[in-house]
């Protein structure tokens, strides 16, 4: 599972670097249950979204550019989604570039919405996922163990 996702990420990077982009815009058709709040400096931040099947197979659904401080979108309910927040930096003068991602799998529940706080400040990044009750408004930070993944 980890290997598959790593391969997917590497393939994406290689294809992008080669000018043969496979990136597609995420088709946001569901009711909004995910809010991504971001605060970043000096990097381009993106969110890649994959669906995850019963056998842990993944399907790339698209990418959302986190170019605004807050973005709302919808992801499937009661089905796992693999989310990858990517931070891409580049320096024209040194012709160097870097890419690091924070990946997690979310299994959204009915009657809940999810908030993801993304930050990248001064080479320090953080991704915190919250679950919020739609009716109660109760908000809690999700633990790493809750961010379900196939290989756990």
């Amino acid at each position: 599972m980890r290997l598959n996702f790593t391969l997917l990420a590497l393939m994406n990077i290689m294809l992008l670097a080669g000018g043969c982009s496979t990136t597609k815009i995420y088709k946001d058709v569901l009711s909004h249950n995910l809010e991504v709040n971001s605060e970043t400096d000096s990097v381009e931040t993106t969110l890649d979204i994959y669906s995850v099947g019963a056998q842990c197979e993944s399907e790339y659904l698209g990418t959302v550019a986190l170019d605004r401080s807050s973005i709302e979108l919808g992801i499937a309910i009661e089905k796992p989604s693999y989310l990858s927040v990517g931070f891409a930096s580049s320096s024209f003068w040194s012709s160097s570039s870097g890419f690091i991602s924070y990946d997690f799998t979310l299994l959204p529940r009915k009657a809940f919405r999810y908030e993801v706080d993304v930050s990248y400040i001064d080479n320090i990044y953080n991704v915190i996922v919250y679950e919020v009750g739609q009716f109660t408004g109760e908000k809690r930070e999700m633990e790493a163990a809750e961010l379900w993944n196939c290989h756990s």
């Binding site: 930096s89 040194s94 012709s95 160097s96 870097g98 690091i100 400040i121 080479n123 320090i124 990044y125």
Partner: protein, 170 residues
């Protein structure tokens, strides 16, 4: 930049061993080797956070930030280098002392010169020590140059300010 940091890492690993006959095989040996090693240092500072909070952040953030593999590509007109590095964190928490060990294993692009401990060469060790009055002391053992983002991130975990993961590609 990356070539420079790779060369630096090579030097750090080489010089830490003295005349390259062996390399620290555990955190205790690493702590003992750092004070006399070139391009390495021991740094001690105090934070006004209680020990339990610091230890708890070590436990929460170290696996989140350091269970990763990083691929770096450096290219110039005369060279092309690909390095793949696996990081491994270990956190040990006791009643009044917490330890964070960070190891790195170069899967590709860097030559091994001495016996490598399981999990990779020791890169850094941070000890958090409970102090009277609710403060915590941090003892750092590791490189004196480079890896600023890691050092800054762990300082953030200790102080509770800008808590996050270091960009290991920076």
């Amino acid at each position: 930049m990356r070539i420079a940091s790779t060369l630096y890492m090579f030097l750090f690993v080489t010089l830490l061993t003295g005349c390259v006959t062996s390399h620290p095989q555990n955190a205790t040996e690493f702590r003992a080797a750092v004070p006399g090693a070139f391009l390495a240092k021991v740094d001690k500072y105090e934070v006004t956070e209680p020990f339990q909070k610091v230890a708890s952040r070590f436990e929460k953030m170290a696996p989140k930030c350091f269970n990763v593999s990083i691929k770096t590509v450096s290219q110039s007109t005369t060279s092309y280098q690909v390095i793949v590095t696996d990081y491994k964190p270990t956190v040990i928490v006791g009643e009044d002392r917490a330890e964070l060990h960070l190891q790195q294993h170069h899967r590709q692009g860097v030559m091994k010169i001495t016996e490598e401990p399981e999990g990779g060469y020791y890169l850094m060790v941070f000890d958090a020590i409970k102090l009277d009055g609710g403060n915590t002391r941090i003892d750092y053992y590791g490189p004196s140059v480079g890896h600023e983002s890691i050092i800054k991130a762990v300082k953030g975990w200790a102080s509770g300010k800008n808590v996050g993961c270091p960009d290991l590609t920076a």
